[in-house]
């Protein structure tokens, strides 16, 4: 047996940084089940693919599906989940040629992968089962055949939303005979995207009912604590959970590595990107296949360059490692995936693009440059390293972000606590009303009809008053000359995007990208530096009416960082307790000034004023006001620094407990809140209408305060640092004031 992973882990122990934790996940032997009654051709096909017997979870999932139950399979990466849905689907088509199935994957790349795997299995059965991918790349000539004859249609929610459902009369064969709907990577259907997808499924089910079919849903999910609840929220039917994996697993070591401290009083550690590079280079030189994850596209390029340089210093070829991220062409990606499977590449540097179930075989080591933002993502990424029998390892290198440092100091939150809940809110009014529109376009609503579980009579009345629907008899008919699905993007809450126009060559303006409206004040205010495709541009003009942003390419050594003036207005209080509350708010922001920050040194080299209209958003927020007594002991400056410090602490730790991205949440503090007439801290859902984060924060208020306290206590800096109370913390002594404020909360 090779001991290279063990000796590599010993090498990590020899580094100067801290090993914050080292957990061993024991090996697990395989457990098998039996095939339920299947077509002999299918059993034979599986055998010739090298699958003699199913794992216990596979046989369980297949039997329940064949018995007509909806299931969600939540087992680890590489446990053979696709077998669980491919078998019932192929079986049903072998049984009845007219039977149809619809596969939904969150991204196009995944559909391509699935197609290859399905083809292989179908070919072995020797029966003609037509399988097609239907997405934006599908040639119009192929579409007609697909609609009429495709047994299995593979697509994504966006295409279902704009390309299939609004044209359902062209898909009669599919909808009349739809037996199975497969929803893979279910955990990605959370937040605003999940809320949209839940409504797309409502529309799908309405159309199925119209054509007399009642499909069974087969869902697969990576680690979340509530796969059953998530599936049931998405499809609004009972779902059976299968989570006990029978697939074998080799032993796995998980290390949390914190780069060495170089300035204790300021809490500065060596750069995590250099540490991650060092670890990856060492592993690759030891012939350990390694995947390195990082958070941004820019970091992928940086890491790739550094790792190649490191390998070159050791006399190793740089092309042992490749980069992988969104923005690479599909062909390049396929090539990289293949080289990884075949072992031609020893290393890959990726964003979370490779987190999803793309098949790259199993690697020996995963290096995470920074905590990816949620526990589920972290487990997904670490799951990329894992072998059926041998030892594998994952090393997470903590960055200077608050949450990373919090986890390094308190690893039990990562290992001990259950993974977070995936949240979505299909009743989000903005999302719901828009999909009612789309659905009314597809089929008239009767006046008493529900939309999934939602009562929508008032929405229908509203749409009638807008002139979009016309009520005749007991039904609402679509009456507008528009195609509503095209105006709604599933990936964001608002479909309004600024178009970025490059006018470097005035005679030839070119569109280079888009920025969603809520991000505009930060990213593309006038004079902002905007980065795109490795080039820097300056914003010359922002046309707020026409939603256009004109930029010119410039050479700069600085970037810009806008400061927002935020206004929060509580519109409706839903619940209150112990100085906390949550409810509906108006969140308004406009940029006031921007700072110019030097790229290499992060020095502030100047500033400018920004004039932009206020951006408004209706959402939900959770807030709290510290007790009078706690603040009465502090002067005004201390109060302000304590609140700012506390807001920064919560900004850091709250996403961990609310299972959301940092960008899903806004945290603000106010010394004197105009509504409450007191100092207050707000945690606001950064999605119009909210997806439930405010309510969740209200429910978890004690946990959040405890975590904030723990975060500030465990931080090793003296007066405050970016990892606890914020970069400005030291200058305003926020660490001390925030600690004093936190100590006044009742901690149980």
């Amino acid at each position: 047996m090779d001991r290279k992973i063990e000796s590599f882990i010993q090498w990590i122990y020899s580094l100067r940084g801290d090993i914050a934790s080292d957990e061993a996940i024991p090996a697990k032997p395989a457990r098998f089940g039996d095939w339920p009654a299947l077509d002999a051709r299918l059993i034979e096909a599986l055998r010739s693919r090298g699958i003699e017997r199913p794992y216990s979870h596979q046989s369980d999932a297949i039997s329940r599906t064949l018995a007509g139950k909806n299931v969600v399979i939540a087992t680890p990466t590489a446990s053979g989940k696709s077998i669980c849905y491919n078998i019932p689907v192929i079986q049903s088509i072998l049984n009845d040629e007219s039977s149809r199935a619809l596969y939904l994957f969150p991204t196009k790349a995944l559909s391509q992968d699935q197609l290859a795997e399905l083809y292989a299995l179908i070919e072995e059965t020797g029966v003609q089962i037509l399988t097609f991918t239907y997405d934006g790349d599908t040639a119009p000539s192929a579409r007609k055949k697909m609609r009429a004859a495709g047994h299995i249609v593979i697509t994504n929610p966006d295409m279902l939303h704009t390309g299939i459902l609004p044209h359902h009369t062209k898909w009669v064969k599919l909808f009349e005979n739809l037996r199975y709907v497969v929803l893979d990577e279910l955990h990605t259907y959370r937040g605003i995207f999940g809320s949209h997808v839940a409504n797309v499924i409502r529309r799908l089910k309405r159309i199925c009912t119209f054509y007399g079919s009642h499909p069974i849903f087969l869902c697969c999910s990576a680690t979340v604590s509530n796969p059953k609840e998530l599936a049931e929220m998405l499809i609004e039917e009972p779902v059976e959970l299968i989570s006990d994996s029978g697939a074998p697993m080799g032993e796995k070591r998980i290390l949390l590595y914190n780069p060495p401290m170089i300035n204790r009083s300021l809490g500065i550690r060596t750069s995590s990107i250099f540490e991650a590079t060092n670890i990856a280079v060492e592993a690759i030189s030891r012939n350990i296949s390694t995947i390195t994850f990082t958070r941004s596209r820019l970091d992928v390029e940086l890491l790739l360059t550094y790792i190649r340089q490191g390998l070159a210093k050791r006399g190793l070829p740089g092309d042992l490692v490749a980069g992988y991220r969104g923005g690479y062409l599909p062909k390049e990606r396929r090539e990289i995936e293949r080289s990884l499977r075949e072992g031609k590449l020893l290393g890959v540097v990726s964003t979370n693009a490779l987190e999803l179930g793309i098949d790259i075989g199993s690697l020996e080591l995963a290096v995470l440059h920074g905590y990816p933002g949620s526990v589920a993502s972290a487990w997904q990424q670490m799951g990329r390293a894992g072998r059926r029998s041998d030892l594998s390892a994952a090393v997470m290198v903590a960055s200077s972000f608050a949450l990373d440092q919090f986890l390094a100091a308190n690893p039990r939150y990562f290992f001990g606590a259950s993974p977070e809940r995936a949240r979505l809110n299909p009743q989000n009014l903005y999302v719901l009303a828009n999909h009612v529109k789309c659905s009314a376009f597809e089929l008239p609503f009767s006046t008493t009809e529900r939309f999934g579980n939602a009562k929508i009579d008032e929405i229908l009345t509203y749409l009638e008053r807008q002139g979009v629907l016309h009520r005749a008899g007991e039904r609402y008919h679509w009456q507008a000359d528009s195609f509503p699905a095209e105006a709604i993007s599933l990936r964001s809450a608002t479909s309004e995007n600024y178009v970025i126009v490059d006018i470097t060559d005035v005679a030839k303006p070119t569109v280079i990208g888009e920025v969603d409206r809520p991000s505009a004040p930060m990213l593309i205010h006038p004079e902002a530096i905007y980065f795109h495709g490795g080039k820097s541009y300056q914003v010359m003009e922002l046309d707020e009416e026409g939603m256009r942003c004109y930029v010119k390419e410039v050479k700069t050594d600085y970037y810009t960082d806008a400061e927002l003036a935020v206004r929060l207005q509580v519109l409706d209080v839903f619940e209150e307790a112990e100085g906390w509350g949550w409810g509906e708010v108006l969140l308004a922001a406009h940029p006031t000034i921007y700072k110019k920050i030097k790229l290499a040194t992060h020095e502030n080299v100047g500033y400018g004023h920004v004039h932009m209209k206020e951006e408004q958003m209706h959402t939900t927020a959770c807030w709290f006001t510290p007790a009078e007594a706690a603040l009465s002991l502090m002067d005004k400056d201390s109060q302000s620094s304590a609140l700012a410090g506390l807001a920064h602490l919560l900004r850091g730790v709250a996403p961990l407990f609310l299972m959301c991205d940092r960008r899903d949440l806004q945290v603000h503090s106010m010394v004197k809140d105009p509504f409450l007439n007191k100092p207050a801290v707000y945690l606001a859902d950064n999605t119009p209408g909210g997806v439930g984060l405010a309510e969740a924060a209200f429910g978890l208020r004690k946990t959040l305060i405890e975590a904030a306290a723990e975060s500030v206590m465990s931080c090793q800096c003296e007066k405050g640092c970016p990892a606890c109370v914020g970069a400005l913390g030291a200058s305003i002594n926020a660490k001390e004031t925030a600690r004093r404020l936190l100590s006044t909360f009742e901690v149980t």
Partner: protein
Amino acid sequence: MSDMLSKLEKVLGRAGEVKIRTAQVQPKGLPPGEWLDQGVYLCEHSVSLSSRHGKVGLQNIRGAIKTLAPWGAAEEATLLDVETTGLAGGTGTYAFMAGVGTIQGEILIVRQLFLTSPQYESSWLYHLRRVIPEEVGFVTYNGKRFDIPLLEGRFILNRLPFPERVRGHLDLLYLARSFWRGVFPSCSLGDVERYALGVERESQDIPGWLIPELYHAFLTDGDASRLSGVFYHNYMDIVSLAALKGKLASLLEGHGKPHEGLKAGDLWASKGSQEKAFALWRKAVEEMARADEPLKRLAYAHKSAGRYEEAASLFEELLQLEPRSIECLVELSKVYEHHLKDLDLALAYARRALQVLMELRPLVWNFKEERAALLHRVKRIEEKCARRERHKEALESS
């Protein structure tokens, strides 16, 4: 205002002032006609085939079937045009009026089937099926992409069968585009009607984009008088279809202007009727002020049919018109080199082509490649000539 409504307005904007009709109102102000069923209203018009539409007579519509058969014309010609609630496509758009024109004896009968509310659509479709002959040859304008797929979708939505025995579908837009793209401001039915048929619509006609709005207004108050323009518009569309069908057939038979004759030749060639195409192109050569286009077509057609003598003489004729056509010079060089076996002429044309290319140098974007190709051609012919000379000498010396 309800709590929910105020929230909706916050999220999606003001509800607007559209009046909601609660009680069923009997439509008023409809043009003369009869009720076929609740919500389904029929207006019928007869037009004599001996009358004229604009500058064009309708009598040619009969004989047109034979000429137009390669483009989908069939017996039981049924002119069809629908008015809809929009152009967006998808299942949210429905038709509320169908104009159906059929020929009975010497008369064109135009039936307009009007739907007074979407709730009666199923019954409206049922009657539409009865108005359309059982075996039908559709004649439409853009019907292949719009009218027919839309109706098919509506039949499916109402779980009714669409007419099954469709013998043919002649979409006049395709032919109109072939003849008049780039000639008329657009190939919309309105422009084609104005410029090809000389029809001027009366002031009551309304532009197509206004129709969905007018119908929606009618649905809210039941006042159909505002739709008189829509009835007129639809009626005119059907009569224009009839006239246009005859007009296009006569163009295909060669009774048009010279440039139309050229296009007619192209259309026949695309359907494999070389004889008809040749005749039309020859006629165009005689009639057109500049005959280069039809000459070129004829020359290539003869060449690909293996009639090289004719092809060469046509290319030479073409060269008279365009002495600096590199394309033409190269074609002549090819024909003489490979087929007519006159190497001296082939060489002369190739060298001339090279010379022209040098003169036109600044205008030729792929000058380098063109020059290399021509040099290669010249060299090859020169070598062939040299070989021939050697061969000749060998023959003579022996």
